[in-house]
Structure formats: C-alpha cells, structure tokens
Subunit: 329 residues, 2 copies
C-alpha cells in the first residue's frame, strides 16, 4: 500500500465511513485531484482493503468545446482500462449561461440524482487542503462572516433523500494538490488540467496564483494554517442551519433567459431537496419574485417544510423550523 | 460639533460609557490616531457634551533616541496649550530588549498603574478600523485560531483592579486611520509619525503596505470587511476565558538578560493581574521554567486564583476556574 493510499484509508476510517457493502460515487472532472481519488480508491479495492462498489461520475458541462469532450474521453479511457463503472451527465444550459456557480448547481444535481438512482451511500469529491485554503480566502474577501470562513466541512448531507446521502471530501483534511499530481504520475497518468485555471479573471485563480504566493512570504505554511483555521472555526461554530447545499448567489443569474432560470432553479431545489416532488410552477415563480425583490430576509415555503430565504444577495435553502444547536452538539 | 466628534460620542454612548463624574485616561503616542482621540475628547468636554476628567498618558520607550524625546515634547506642548493633565512613564528595559511585544507589556503596565493611582474608570486607546483589519490578518497569518481572528474587542477589562478598569477602544468600530489624520489637520496639528512604520521588516507594516493594497484589488472595501468579520466572530465566539490581557509570545524573549526577563514578567503579571501583591520570586522562577519547558498546556498557579499557562508558544493569563460561557451570554 502506497503512503498516499494509507493516508486516504486512515482519513476514511477517521470519518467513520463504511468499508464494505455500500456504493460510493466518486465525482471526476479529469484533474489530478479527482483522478487520484478514483485511482486510490480503486487501488484500495484491488488490495482488498475496501469492499465497496465504486462508481465514477462525470458531468460534461460542454463549456470548453472540444476540450470538454476530450476530458470525457480521457475519463472513459481510465475507467475502461480499470473496469470501473461510470455515470455521465450533460449540461442542459446554454454555454454562456453556464458560468461557474450555475455549472456547479447542475453538476451537484446530477451527482445527487445519480446517487439516488443507484442507492449510493456517499458522493465523494476531491477537494484538497489547497482548495480549502482558497475557499477560506474567497469567503474572507467576500466578507461572508463566520459560517463562510468555516469553509468546507469534510462531510455534509447531500439533499434530503432517505436513506441519507453524504457528500464526503476525503482529501480535505490532509492532501495537498501537488501530492495528487505526484500520485497520478506514479501511474503514468497524464491528468487533464482545467484551462479555466489559466484565466486570471476568476477570483479563485487570482487567489491561487497571486494572493497565496504573497501570503507564503509571511508564513511558508499558510495553506495548512488557513485550512486549520477553517477546521477550528467548524469546531467552534456548529452549523447554525442544517445546510444541505450551497447558497445560490443571485447576482450571477443575469445571463440566464426565462427558461434557463427556471431550469437552474429546479436543479438548485433538486440538489438541495433531493427531488422535485410536489414542486409546482408557482413555487418556481415565487422564487423568481424573491430574486427580483430588493428585500432581504423574505421566505418562500416549499412543500415538505423546506424554505428558501434571500439573505445578503443569496438564496439559502433551509428547513422551516430552524433549531439553533447548542455549542456542544 | 464636528462630524468626527459626533461619531465619537455616538460610539461612546453605544459602548455605554459614562458621560460625567469619572476619570478617563487617553493613551497618547503622538500619532494622528491618539492625538485625534485626545483632541476630540477635549473638544467634547469644552462643548460641555462630556463632563469627565481627562488625563493623557504617554509612555516613553526611549527606543528611537532623540525622536522618542521629541514625541514626548510634542505631546507636552499640546497638553500644555489645552490645559490637559498628563502622566508620563519611562522604560526600564535596555533599548535592545525593548522589542515590540516587550514594549507593549511595559506600556500597558504603566497605563494600568496610572489608572489605579488616579482611580480612573477607563483607559482609552486609539485603535482604528485599519488597526483591527491588520490585527485580523496578523493573527490569520500566525494561525492563531478562532479567538485570535476575533481580534480586538471594543471593551475589555484591564487587569483585575477593584473597582474594575476598562480598556476601551472608541475608534475601533468606525474610525479609519485617514480620518484621524484629517481631524488633526483641522487643528493644524502636525502629528508625529512613528518611524517604525517605515521599516518593512515588521510584519504588521508589511501587512499594511503590501498585503492590504493587494487585497484591495480583490475587494476595495477589504479593510471594513475584515473588521466586520472580526466583529461577527466576537458575537459568535464569546470570550472563552476572562482575558484581561495579551498573551506573551515567549519566542520574543531571547534578547533579554536574567534581570530584564524577571522585570518583564513582573510587568506582564502586573498588567494582567492589576498588582504584584503576594507575587514572590518563586512564582517568577516557575514561569521562567515554564517558558523553557517544551511542553504545552502546563500551568503555574498564582496567589489569588489566577493561572499562567503555556499554549502554542505563548504564555496565557487566566483564572483558575475557567467557566465556559453559553452561546447567548
């Protein structure tokens, strides 16, 4: 067993995740992070350290033309060679509407639906310590408050399916991006690099390429320190809301036409709620009015006791009875 | 009443501070921030908005030779012209031992002693929104955790005197550094600028001159956002410990000789505890051993129920019975 695999399985145990008799989905983009996650789980399975059904899932956003299809082919090649099951999904939005956040909503809806369809226990994403540090800084710069600074949690509920589906990030607590690249190279696998990474107009990329290198002049271990800080905040700030999804930043919806906006809202509700049962046009339209409203704090009730609230320019999905947990829960 | 003065008195009311029959000490370095605080309080008193006894307090660290004495003369000139009372103190440490942290400990001990001597209700310092943002970033870079990120609170207890003395920061919630400069210029007062500000080897100054300007490219309002974040964290994280002082970073004590180290520890205890009664050589020596010890979490008990603990390379002053407060207190 390689060190990388040992670290992964140690974290898997620490997260109290199952070792057998379950299905897990590994979300794969084609980058070194998600490819290394898939390879390492497949290796652990081949070494009989785990006895889980592993399904790779890839969502093709069709955002970068030929390259998007090459990503998909690349992944098809890997899973075919290793006999790993694959689920694929394709974007319904026009490329110009498919900016970062909207793309993420579509992708999470796909992952959630796939998990429901195959009765998966968990969906795994390959967010690393570096991603956590970047998320922390992104939220800090946006001024998103204490909950925002607590950044990504290693496990959260995905949607509201029964039995519940977990979104798990087994790299978040220990793996650096560079380690995932080294691991891929051990298998001579020439992972894909997202060309978005080279466009400095994206804040996250500017954080990665400009801000973090400057912060390293102050503290060479800044990436680990920021990730530690997020973890400490998570321990001190129990999730105030049973968050089952990401908030929806409404300032990013301007590029959508009527149909696309409705489609995106359905995907967002589905990703947060687990399904669209009992959701009618009137609910979607009420949310559209909420988006256009200037007031903060207004609430739309959905069938099943969920609510959608607008807070500081974002739609937030929650339960109707928000129980504030005590500090020790 | 000028806008600056109106903002100051509004904050003073918000902090529920007294308007009459008390003595307050204003700590004055000679910079625009502390001079503007002194001038504005004196103006408010002259306009009969406040009826407080105001005492300026200046501590001469003798760190910058002739300039340090010029700072003192400059302050003497202002208080003489305005008939403001002045208390001055002088450093006992050798200049080479008097690095930033040690200087601060000596200064706070002086302020604490002066407040006790003249039965002052509060000691005011002129920390601005900019100082708060810098403190936030400094603690973030150091990896000092959630409490560290909550940065400076607008009011805290200074020492353990009875009746209690408050350390109050009336600028922290609203005043920008540039506003304090504008206010001084209204009185044609050519405030002193600390030459330390021009030495980029100090982390805080590098934060001010390099990191914050870069962060402004990401968010032009970053200084306010960081200060907001600190305030939100304070609201979410009630002080776990009844902190009455600053922790002491032991890595900064190497430049001190035996006598100076004992002197500094006495000053630190005095600043945190309010007095040195019942403190014997054995207590000082126990803390010296604690500093040299490699273990974290060890505790030295002091007469009166206080404890000194070493945590992550810092001495922390606390009460023996640490009561964790609930989330709503």
């Amino acid at each position: 067993m390689r060190k990388f695999e040992r670290q992964l399985i140690t974290e898997w145990r620490r997260l109290e995740m199952p070792f057998a008799d379950r299905t897990i989905i590994i979300a794969v983009s084609g980058g070194a992070d998600s490819i290394s996650l898939l390879l390492a789980f497949d290796e652990l399975k081949n070494q009989n350290k785990l006895n889980l059904r592993i399904v790779a899932a890839h969502f093709n956003h069709h955002l970068r033309g030929k390259e998007s299809d090459e990503d998909e082919s690349f992944i098809r090649g890997i899973v075919a060679a290793r006999k790993i099951e694959l689920a694929t999904g394709h974007s319904n939005l026009s490329p110009q509407a498919n900016i970062e956040q909207n793309a993420r909503i579509e992708r999470y809806d796909f992952l959630q639906q796939t998990a429901t369809n195959i009765q998966a226990h968990a969906v795994l994403t390959a967010h690393t310590v570096d991603d956590q540090a970047e998320t922390f800084l992104l939220n800090l710069i946006r001024g998103s408050g204490a909950q925002g600074l607590s950044s990504m949690r290693p496990i959260r509920k995905l949607g509201n399916a029964e039995p519940p589906i977990s979104l798990v990030r087994p790299f978040l607590g220990w793996a650096r991006r560079a380690e995932t690249e080294v691991y891929c190279r051990e298998f001579s696998i020439d992972y894909r690099s997202d060309t978005m990474n080279d466009d400095e107009s994206f804040t996250r990329v500017r954080i990665r390429k400009i801000l973090i290198p400057l912060l390293k002049d102050f503290n060479p271990n800044i990436v680990e320190r920021l990730a530690d800080t997020a973890r400490l905040l998570q321990a001190e700030l129990p999730a105030a809301r049973e968050s089952t999804g990401e908030p929806l930043d409404v300032s990013h919806l301007g590029s959508l036409n009527e149909t696309e906006l409705k489609q995106l809202l359905r995907a967002w509700i589905s990703a947060n709620r687990g399904h669209l049962r009992q959701i009618e046009l009137k609910h979607i339209e009420a949310i559209e009015r909420l988006i256009k409203s200037r007031k903060s704090g207004k609430t739309i009730e959905l069938p099943g006791g969920q609510v959608v609230t607008k807070e500081a320019g974002r739609l937030v999905f929650g339960k109707n009875m928000v129980e504030k947990r005590g500090p020790d829960n």
